[in-house]
Symmetry: C2
């Protein structure tokens, strides 16, 4: 933590780590306080509720992520280049904002039932529209196969990329760029050997 990191952000980071590891519902306010070296009541000097903590973590992260996506989709890359860039941006997010991605993957379904987290639905919709537009453009330009169901292909890509947060740990096994290389190799060309 840098010297300029506020106490609030420091506590938020500790809470995020625990939410990611054990799930939001399964992490108690006392767990967060213990990990922070303070009493549970003291947390309420910084936050109104446990929900506010996870809300701030998710909304801050998602706002930044979609700005990155918008840049890529608005660029002059071809479809393959855009798919490549979006996938790599997603793996980068797993590396740099691991806790936030893990929380979204594990707890978004639970959180979305509350009004406070309605924006998660909106972000899912945007993400879906971005990908289906990209895949649709790819089949029109002839870069992508036209015999695949766009909806299933979207789910395939989405799941494959984000679920990696379950096992990827920064600084272990592979660099995140290597993981992205391999995933894109399979996604674009498959696992069978080609003799041409």
């Amino acid at each position: 933590m840098s010297a300029s990191t506020s106490r609030r952000d420091e506590l938020l980071g500790i809470a995020g780590r625990l939410f990611a590891q054990r799930g939001f519902k399964n992490t108690t306010v006392r767990d967060i306080a213990d990990a922070s070296g303070i009493q549970s009541g003291s947390l309420y000097h910084h936050f109104d509720s446990k929900e506010e903590m996870v809300d701030e973590l998710l909304s801050t992260f998602q706002t930044a992520l979609f700005a990155t996506y918008d840049d890529i989709v608005g660029s002059d890359l071809d479809v393959r280049g855009k798919v490549d860039a979006v996938v790599r941006a997603s793996f980068d997010a797993i590396e740099q904002h691991h806790d936030e991605v893990a929380i979204f993957q594990n707890d978004a379904g639970y959180l979305m039932q509350f009004d406070r987290f309605g924006y998660l639905r909106g972000h899912n919709k945007r993400f879906h529209e971005m990908w289906t537009a990209l895949l649709d453009e790819g089949t029109r330009t002839g870069e992508l196969r036209s015999d695949l169901d766009p909806e299933l292909t979207y789910r395939f890509i989405r799941d494959t990329v984000w679920v990696a947060v379950r096992w990827y740990r920064p600084g272990r096994d592979h660099a995140v760029s290597e993981v992205a290389d391999q995933y894109l190799a399979i996604l674009f060309d498959g696992i069978t050997s080609k003799e041409s």
Copy 2:
């Protein structure tokens, strides 16, 4: 429910549905009792604890699933045929035992920390060994690309197949065999169009 279904199995099915929908920790014994039309105390005539319910659901399912896998791996199919069959068997499991698969996907990480669910670790290990042996055989026979990291390829296949339980609903959109067709098409050959 058939007439021969025991009351215990009936309650187990109701509990499994709720565990799959809301998560194990987030489903209360009172939720299960309400959905069953009885009082929470009455559940303890059939089960010693909430943990026993999820234990029986997972262990019964996994035992059957691994018997199916063993048959496929022990067959005389070539590697591509075995990969095809294992993936299809997994999608069939998502269709026929949706709740059990969903519980495993969402809560296995939490449950594995308890001694009672240590067998989940053993099953994960067996699954990992089955897949890496299969992929290794495929690169030796020349059926599969040799430039991919076997460990990453394993994770790619595993995640892609099982995560479908998050969105697949039996009798909606696509038959499960169609989903398997599309997933295998991408897995084997990728999403780019090939001009030969």
